[in-house]
């Protein structure tokens, strides 16, 4: 693999490395440290943000060690990293398996191992091991994710660490690993799997969230049910349009479906203005007829896609009604409660929803410019729980205002888009897959963490990269990112060596 003469021509490491990413990384670290200062500032010990006994002081230690770690990673040859992929993965599986037995209980979580006076969370580090392993497997010659055999291997590689982390009662960290499916999608996983997964989540959230609300004040109709039926019809039409676009006969195939949609609307209007009745049943009937119609089309045209769409429509309806049943009859009360609070159905300021309400108050009170560094009242007076870890974004919102929040979000967006660009320029599948893994992880963390603080996504306790206090997550993200930067820095050499 190595070719000494070609290698000499390759630019040096410092020339090949992507400085833009490093710049974004450093800026985020600096902003993150400011936020930890704001969030952990204690009125009783004012003026000691640099003291190592405080969290802001400790965070400096974590940042310093992360920078050192980043430098060390850049010193390692990327080929060494690649060759160690499987070993690293297996080591992490062992560590994750052992964690619950070694861990001491922190708020019901068994994910922390104590080493000396520090605690580390293996789940935070394991991400890069899984990413490396996936990249290595998918980079092997002849691997094709579109083959069931290969796809199942990938799913297993992801599912095993998820299962091990769930055993540590860290559901949030486990869910992060589902971000790898975004990478699988890029690598050729059929889009409908992603589509089905998203549709399932949307049906569930919408159906539950608005189940108790009436449509237009007509008590007989449930808004949640109506919206889900509408979504099913719209999705079905979208799918039929995609399929029929390729066949000349298909142009008119969609017309009856539009008619069904119109009937649904008329029914709702009648219920509202003429005589109140449950027009949602009309929508259900329309969906039922749609299934029959699609079955007819598939028989007439001998078309499998129509059959699959019919199946989708049918499964969608069944799914919607079964989640309602599961929610009411199978889940335990506290699980139901968690979901309800998540969806904003329970107003319980001192209960589970308290975090979200206080988070919104803290952010909302920041205004355009914020209250200024260390001047936030909500975060400093501990109104927001977990304010220097999972809810750190509140501090940004309160102290730096809309401008600060926008800068932070845009920095994350540019980091993700930069990683996207870097991944696409990788000459090998290994680098590209690993790059997509990294960006998927970052995207998932930002999506869930900021979303939950803003009250848009479920409250899943995962950190905001580079902002949340803690050594494990900061080291984890640094390793994850810099391994990719090291792989990227070696791309030219790899390219030239492969050309030779």
């Amino acid at each position: 693999m190595s070719n000494k003469t070609k290698e000499k021509k390759a630019p040096s490491l410092w020339g090949a490395i992507d400085w833009l990413t490093i710049f974004i990384y450093v800026v985020l670290l600096a902003l993150g440290w400011m936020s930890v200062c704001g969030a952990s500032y204690d009125f009783d010990q004012a003026g000691s943000i640099l003291d190592f006994s405080t969290r802001s002081g400790m965070q400096i230690v974590w940042i310093g060690s992360s920078l050192l770690l980043a430098f060390l990673i850049l010193m390692i040859d990327d080929r060494v990293i690649e060759s160690l992929s499987y070993i690293i993965y297996i080591c992490f599986l062992g560590l994750l398996f052992a964690t619950p037995f070694l861990a001491h209980d922190i708020k019901g979580s068994l994910s922390w191992i104590k080493i000396g006076s520090f605690s580390v969370q293996p789940a935070e580090f394991a991400k890069f091991g899984v990413a490396l392993c996936l990249a290595k497997v998918m980079g092997t010659y002849g691997f094709d994710i579109r083959k069931w055999h290969d796809f199942v291997i990938c799913v297993c590689l992801i599912a095993i660490p998820i299962a091990l982390i769930i055993m540590q009662k860290e559901t949030g960290s486990a869910l992060v690993y589902s971000a790898f499916f975004l990478m699988l999608y890029r690598e050729g996983m059929p889009g409908y799997i992603l589509f089905a997964a998203i549709a399932a989540v949307v049906y569930f959230v919408v159906g539950m969230r608005f189940a108790a609300d009436p449509i237009w004040g007509v008590e007989q109709m449930s808004l949640g049910e109506g919206l889900v039926m509408l979504l099913i019809q719209v999705f079905t039409i979208g799918l039929v349009l995609t399929v029929s676009a390729s066949s000349p006969k298909g142009k008119k195939a969609c017309n009856p479906l539009w008619a069904g949609l119109a009937v649904s609307f008329v029914a709702v209007l009648l219920a509202r203005f003429v005589y109140p009745f449950n027009a949602v049943w009309v929508m259900v009937a329309v969906c039922g007829l749609t299934v029959l119609y699609l079955l007819y089309l598939s028989l007439r045209d001998r078309s499998v896609p129509y059959l699959l769409i019919a199946l989708f429509t049918m499964v969608s309806m069944a799914y919607h009604y079964s989640t309602g049943y599961v929610m009411d009859n199978i889940l335990k009360t506290h699980q139901q409660s968690r979901i309800r609070v998540l969806l904003g159905l329970e107003d319980d300021p001192r209960g589970i929803g308290y975090n979200v309400i206080q988070a919104k108050i803290a952010i909302g009170s920041g205004g355009l410019e914020g209250k200024g560094f260390l001047n936030g009242t909500q975060t400093k007076l501990k109104y927001v729980p977990e304010q220097d870890t999972d809810f750190i974004f509140c501090t940004v919102g309160e102290e730096e205002g809309f401008i600060g929040c926008a800068i932070v979000l845009l920095l994350f967006l540019s980091l993700i888009l930069r990683l996207l660009h870097l991944s696409e320029r990788q000459p090998y599948t290994f680098g590209r897959v690993y790059g997509y893994c990294v960006l998927s992880i970052f995207l998932f963390h930002v999506f869930i963490n900021v979303g939950m603080v803003l009250g848009l996504t479920p409250v899943i306790g995962i950190p905001l990269p580079f902002f949340s206090y803690g050594g494990s997550s900061l080291w984890g993200f640094t390793i994850l990112l810099f391994i990719f930067l090291r792989i990227d820095a070696g791309r030219n050499r790899s390219l030239s060596s492969s050309l030779s």
Binding site: S365, Y436, L454
Partner: protein, 623 residues
């Protein structure tokens, strides 16, 4: 479907992924925009979260008498506070014993504190009021043992204290605000104090001052974490204004002493200023029983007393003025030209005319005005009214005569509230023409209403109005609305209490009446009031009381020239005016003008103090 998609097709998926990232960030930015820039609610919520606006109470103004003697001042009281989280494991029995409470009371109180509905600001981390207003003795007893009760603290508060056991009706008291007070004035919050009676109530806004505000930072557990911006936005409380009463507390104390065991009132006014020198209402009570935690109990006890000690008879009692009213009749007849000082009417033991008979006592007949006043002749004034109401040259109808008469009465301060600076004043009763038209269906004459000329019948005055009549005569024709507060610190007095009100009667006519009142003291009904020290003018009254013994009334002033004091003494069921009214009035004038009582007078005062009237009649007071 997609099984055959070539690799370059897959590369397009980067747009899907990148697009999703852009969409997510965009949605979040929109959300942030609405949260941070479009809604003010969160700012308010954040402030109410973090800022504890602690009210700082101003010191209530002190009250002193006209000679600068302190009457009402503030004294520290002590509230027992508890922090629930810290108090666990306290020996309850010991605590109850130290505070003199029962275990049941303790348990009920603890439940009340924890009840979020009754105590909305409850937090187990902050101090809650456990027991309020401990006296200094209770406090010092508890203080010694305080170290044994972790979680219990003492908070200083301020309550009212009184130097004298007198003037309860005038000074009034303070109590916790009710919901209606809070509704009426948003200055108040639950638990605040407000003046309930007397000047504490009428001068509430001056006395209370302005509350200050301290903005503190409070953490999520309710603990105080310091001042917001080092107190930059704090507001210091403005202390209440001090009041100087026009009352002479020594005179007031003597009055209360003399009225012991009697129902009635004494009102003394400085004629030149309208300042009330004393205002006694009997029975009275010691204002000190209304302090602190015992207020409720005392209040209930006083309210249940059949002699109504809470009633300020001086301004709420409406009595027939009796013969003291004759002075006002003399003034009216003179001014209207019905009589001259020389006009003489005959009186043979009363007024006898067309079967109507108003009795009188023995005196010479016929007699002119001055001796008529001096001897308090009923016949004279009945004739006067008869001639006035029957004068068809001057008045077309009896109604017109009546209206003229009423206007005179009103100009002398009768029939309406005078406007004293105390709550609850009553207006008394002066009948008018429509009143009699209704009562007698239009068929009436001077004879029908003849008793009003001698202060009986429908006429009712408050003791204050009678005293004010005395002040008006002393001034020869004008009065200033009586008031009990002489000065409000840093504020001019209301112009109502500086403006002269002139009656419809000219000065020369007043001189005639003054001469009559002087004659009464020298050789008439008020002889007991005569003294060599100064010239006393007076008029007795014996108000007929259909329910029991007549009321004893005295109205007078002294000295005759440049009067210092005008007075009304009204003793319910006190029989003749000379029995109680005159001697009490004389003692009061002596005390005020000489500054002390002579030895003989002192003995007399003691005698009157011990003369109790037991034949109480509840109907004696109309309220």
């Amino acid at each position: 479907m997609e099984g055959t998609k070539p690799t370059y097709e897959l590369e397009k998926r980067k747009y899907v992924i990148g697009g999703a990232a852009v969409a997510i960030i965009l949605i979040y930015l929109i959300r942030l925009f609405t949260l941070q820039l479009l809604s003010e609610d969160f700012k308010a919520s954040a402030d109410s979260n973090a800022f504890l606006k602690r009210i700082q109470y101003p010191a209530r103004g002190a009250i002193s008498d006209r000679n600068g003697k302190l009457l009402v001042y503030n004294q520290p009281a002590y509230d027992v506070m508890v922090i629930m989280r810290e108090q666990e494991g306290v020996d309850t029995l010991d605590l109850c014993e130290s505070l003199g409470i029962t275990r049941e009371w303790y348990e009920r109180r603890m439940e009340e504190i924890k009840d979020g509905k009754r105590n909305p600001g409850y937090s187990s981390y902050t101090q809650q009021v456990f027991m309020s207003q401990l006296s200094t003795e209770e406090f010092s007893r508890f203080q010694e043992k305080l170290f044994r009760f972790p979680g219990f603290y003492i908070q200083k508060r301020s309550i009212r204290q009184y130097s004298y056991p007198n003037a309860a009706h005038l000074l009034g008291d303070i109590g916790e605000v009710g919901p209606e007070d809070i509704e009426a004035d948003h200055y108040y919050r639950s638990g605040d104090y407000i003046g309930k009676l007397g000047v504490e109530r009428s001068y509430e806004t001056a006395l209370r001052g302005e509350k200050g505000m301290e903005i503190l930072l409070r953490d999520a557990r309710g603990r105080i974490k310091g001042r917001y911006q080092n107190g930059k936005f704090d507001e210091a409380p403005i202390p209440g204004r001090n009041l100087t009463m026009s009352i002479d507390i020594d005179l007031q104390a003597l009055g209360e002493r003399l009225m012991k065991g009697k129902l009635g009132s004494i009102v003394a006014i400085e004629p030149s200023t309208g300042e009330v020198l004393c205002m006694v209402s009997s029975p009275t009570y010691d204002p000190r029983i209304m302090i602190g935690r015992q207020r409720g109990k005392s209040q209930r006890m006083l309210a249940a007393d059949p002699h109504k000690p809470l009633l300020n008879r001086a301004i709420m009692g409406q009595y027939p003025p009796g013969s003291t009213f004759k002075t006002s009749q003399a003034l009216t007849f003179l001014q209207e030209g019905i009589i001259t000082p020389q006009t003489a009417y005959s009186c043979s033991h009363g007024f006898h005319f067309r079967g109507l008979k108003v009795g009188c006592h023995g005196h010479g007949s016929p007699l002119p005005l001055i001796p008529a006043i001096a001897t308090s002749c009923n016949g004279y004034f009945c004739w006067g009214l008869y001639h006035m109401f029957g004068n068809r040259k001057k008045y077309e109808t009896v109604q017109q005569a009546m209206t003229t008469w009423k206007d005179y009465m009103v100009s002398m301060g009768f029939g309406y509230k005078l406007g004293i600076d105390l709550p609850g004043e009553k207006r008394g009763m002066i009948p008018n023409a429509p009143y009699y038209d209704k009562a007698y269906r239009g068929d009436w004459s001077g004879l029908t209403v003849i008793s009003i000329s001698i202060g009986q019948g429908e006429v009712n005055l408050t003791p204050l109005q009678i005293a004010n009549l005395g002040a008006t005569i002393a001034n020869r024709g004008w009065y200033i609305v009586p008031h009990v507060v002489k000065k409000v610190q840093g504020m001019p007095l209301d112009t109502l209490y500086t403006r002269k009100h002139y009656t419809r009667v000219q000065r020369s006519n007043y001189e005639t009446v003054v001469a009559g009142m002087r004659q009464a003291v020298l050789g008439g009904t008020c002889r007991i009031a005569n003294t060599a020290d100064y010239e006393v003018c007076g008029k007795t009254g014996t108000a007929q009381n259909p329910h029991g013994q007549d009321h004893s009334v005295f109205m007078g002033f002294a000295p005759r020239e440049d009067p210092k004091i005008a007075i009304c003494v009204y003793v319910e069921n006190g029989s003749w005016g000379a029995t109680y009214g005159v001697p009490i009035g004389a003692l009061m004038m002596e005390q005020y003008i000489n500054g002390k009582l002579s030895e003989a007078s002192q003995a007399r005062a003691t005698e009157f103090e011990n003369r109790h009237l037991y034949s109480f009649s509840d109907e004696g007071v109309k309220d």
